[in-house]
């Protein structure tokens, strides 16, 4: 199963289990979404529960807040994360704070799904990684899967969660994992050992990281596409790295991070988003605050550049094997 199919499966299961789950968004109904993540669901569950919306993200999220206030569990899709900004105020000022400001009278159990990240020649308006804008907001949870297995289990948990969740889907790895070597042919998920997706219902708790690979030499903190890229580079360089897929950025699994850093003493954080005030800065600060005496080298931060995503030069922007490789060398004290 690829990641799209796993997401479709999760949505199908949750729609079947809970009549209050509704799906809405641009093109999600009849057509099944531009990435086909909601394919077949309108046919199966009817237009009351899976429906197309106007191109109006403020309306999509605003209506979802009202639906949640009624008692539904909306799962709106924002077609690309780059287009979440018109709905941003409804997310950060409304959904995120509804529970707090009404002291539990109204809650917003909304799961906003949105494909994010670059690497598909999407240009600057189909490639952004805006996760840090949401991790900064009290009241939101931010979840990013990196495998079909996790995508299904985490999405189910997100829909069941009674808080608003931003569920970012790394679209570069919808169809197969990505090792960062963009000029080599990509492998499909079916050839990936960790991609088996169990049938039926299962969930993966939010706030729990996954240790992708145990190791002694250094800790890699990553999420989404970058989990695969960082792992591939470490393997190529023969580095015995411990690779942690954070899976949930808020709330973050600090225990798993601390345990690993205490063991390895060296840390590299990797994300695709722009560098300044990115989520990597938060990770570096957390490690510095909590594990300083275990550190044997300055923490490395590998990110995209502080520019918009350039179309023709997207691979120059992308934190690929060279950038990650240099950081590993610095971290391990090679020249």
């Amino acid at each position: 199963m690829n990641m799209i199919e796993a997401i479709n499966d999760a949505l199908d299961i949750m729609m079947g289990r809970d009549p209050d789950v509704v799906i809405m968004g641009e093109d999600v109904g009849y057509f099944g979404g531009v990435f086909r993540a909601t394919a077949g669901l309108q046919k199966k569950y009817g237009k009351n529960r899976v429906f197309d919306t106007p191109i109006n993200e403020c309306g999509i999220i605003g209506a979802a807040v009202g639906m949640a206030a009624y008692g539904l569990r909306p799962v709106p899709e924002i077609q690309f994360a780059d287009y979440i900004y018109p709905g941003y105020d409804q997310l950060v000022s409304e959904a995120a704070r509804l529970r707090y400001r009404s002291a539990n009278e109204f809650i917003a159990p909304i799961t906003v799904r949105s494909p994010f990240g670059g690497g598909i020649f999407g240009g600057q308006t189909h490639s952004q990684s805006p996760e840090a804008l949401f991790t900064h907001v009290a009241g939101l949870k931010v979840v990013i899967p990196s495998t079909p297995h996790d995508a299904k289990g985490l999405l189910i948990a997100a829909i069941e969660d009674n808080d608003p969740v931003i569920f970012f889907e790394p679209k570069r790895i919808y169809n197969g994992p990505f090792d960062g070597y963009y000029d080599k042919p990509a492998k499909p998920w079916s050839q990936h050992p960790d991609s088996a997706v169990p049938e039926g219902y299962y969930s993966i708790p939010l706030g729990k990281a996954r240790v992708v690979r145990e190791g002694e030499a250094m800790t890699v903190l990553a999420y989404g596409t970058m989990v695969h890229v960082a792992a591939a580079v470490c393997a190529d360089k023969g580095v015995d790295a411990e690779i942690i897929d954070l899976r949930t950025l808020v709330p973050i699994d600090i225990e798993t991070v601390e345990k690993s850093v205490e063991k390895t003493g060296r840390v590299m954080v990797v994300h695709e988003a722009t560098r300044t005030s990115g989520f990597g800065a938060e990770l570096v600060a957390l490690v510095q605050e909590r594990c300083f005496y275990h550190l044997e080298a300055p923490i490395e931060r590998v990110t995209g550049f502080d520019t918009p995503y350039p179309h023709s030069l997207e691979w120059a922007y992308f934190p690929g094997p060279v950038r990650i490789g240099e950081a590993i060398d610095r971290l391990l004290g090679a020249d």
Partner: protein, 434 residues
């Protein structure tokens, strides 16, 4: 000028363009004459069937639905024909709203809370609307619909607890005064971010429709806020899905110091925005409680029978400051409120009741005295739970609760930090001992 950029001055011999900035008719010190406000005779407006095509309401978007005439009689097809008892009850809640506002305004001046917002002159828009709705129809209010809570019998003491942010405030002292939330009264939690409630109301209405419920939703927004994108998002969603919702613009002429021209009022009416969306629209004399009742009843019936949404413009006037932080004498003529051609909604309803032999000046005076006493008693009761800044607030730890359903580790750590700071400052302090 930006570096490296050529001057933006005009070239050639084309005529110079003019930058237009709207300006209200009167400023402080100016004489006031509302001749430009067209007030059609009461009773002259046709009342189309509630199931009519939206386009049939178009003329009413430029007209003004009015029921009470100059002799204080109810007239015309929009006369809702309410009995004396209902009219008296409506009058009582409108007067109660004003009494409540006056007392709370004074409370703010006495330092019992930080802030207050009155709805003086607009009491009919909320109270008469509430009377025309079912008590379980969902309201997504703005901050000047306290009249709806009072009409629905929400306890005044609860409202004052909220305004004082005291230990009995069921919102745990988190919200600005007057930002009520009353789920049991079908009253949505008020946001400080203007206009956000509009698409939310539509979403609630869609949910109600998709579940085959019979409850409709309604929302209120100011004329100024109607310039927000959320307004248009709501209008689009409401028409696209034929939502069972009544969307209200309370046009009280002012948005703090900006007159309604800054929201587009110089070019058309607010109700006319319905036309472009293919939505039913009504423009109503917002100071005529019977007209407001009739319009809301029309729109609610229409929504309830699956004939779709309605936009209502309540044409009214904000007779007092925007809030306790505002001084309207700085930006508008002091004579505006008294010169307002549509009068005062309470006075008009009172005179109507007197004209039909259902009320008297003496009864009204007695009622006003009783209402003032009632509000005073509620205030005293609420004050036992504390006023803002005097220590009787919610336990400290509640600050960190309800951000998420469960307390995550980072908030737990921050809560411990906050309590440590507290102990350093007041060594004998204990969380639950106040």
């Amino acid at each position: 000028m930006a570096k490296g950029r050529k001057s933006l001055a005009r070239g050639g011999n084309r005529p110079p363009l003019e930058f237009y900035v709207p300006e209200p008719k009167f400023r402080p010190g100016d004489p006031v004459d509302f001749v430009h406000v067209q007030v059609p005779p009461a009773g002259a407006q046709p009342r189309p069937d509630e199931s009519c095509a939206a386009v049939d309401t178009s003329p009413l978007c430029y007209d003004l639905v009015r029921v009470l005439d100059d002799e204080h009689q109810a007239t015309g097809p929009w006369n809702p024909r309410l009995d004396g008892e209902t009219l008296r009850e409506m009058l009582r809640v409108m007067a109660l709203t004003r009494a409540f506002d006056d007392r709370m305004y004074r409370g703010q001046r006495q330092g019992k809370t930080s802030f207050y917002m009155k709805c003086t002159g607009e009491e009919a828009t909320s109270v008469a609307s509430a009377f025309a709705l079912a008590s379980d129809d969902m309201v997504f209010p703005s901050y000047r619909q306290q009249g709806i809570l009072l009409a629905r019998g929400y306890p005044m003491v609860e409202m004052i607890n909220q305004i004082y942010s005291n230990r009995a405030d069921h919102l745990k002292g988190r919200q600005l005064p007057i930002m009520y939330s009353a789920r049991d009264y079908s009253f949505f939690t008020i946001s400080g971010n203007l206009a956000t409630q509009f698409p939310q109301a539509v979403g609630w209405a869609l949910a109600s429709a998709s579940k085959g419920d019979s409850r409709i939703a309604t929302s209120f927004i100011g004329d100024g806020s109607s310039a927000e994108g959320d307004f248009h998002a709501a209008m689009t969603f409401a028409t696209v899905y034929n939502a069972p919702v009544v969307l209200n613009i309370v046009n009280n002429q002012w948005a703090i110091s900006s007159f309604s021209g800054f929201a587009g009022a110089e070019r058309t009416t607010f109700a006319a925005r319905a036309i472009g969306y293919g939505m039913a629209g009504l423009r109503v004399d917002g100071n005529d409680a019977l007209a407001v009742y009739a319009a809301m009843q029309w729109a609610a019936n229409r929504a309830r029978s699956n004939h779709g949404p309605t936009l209502i413009e309540h044409f009214t006037y904000r007779a007092e400051g925007h809030s306790t932080s505002d001084d309207p004498s700085q930006y508008r003529s002091a004579r505006e409120a008294e010169a307002w051609p549509l009068g005062d909604p309470i006075t008009r309803l009172k005179k109507h009741l007197i004209a039909i032999g259902e009320w008297s000046e003496e009864q009204h005076e007695t009622m006003d005295r009783e209402l003032a006493e009632q509000v005073k008693a509620a205030t005293k009761e609420a004050e036992k739970n504390g006023v803002l800044g005097h220590g009787l607030h919610h336990p400290f730890h509640t600050m960190f609760e309800d951000v998420y359903e469960e307390l995550p580790w980072h908030l737990e750590e921050q809560a411990e930090q906050a309590i440590r700071e507290r102990r350093i400052k007041w060594p004998t302090w204990k969380e639950y001992e106040q």
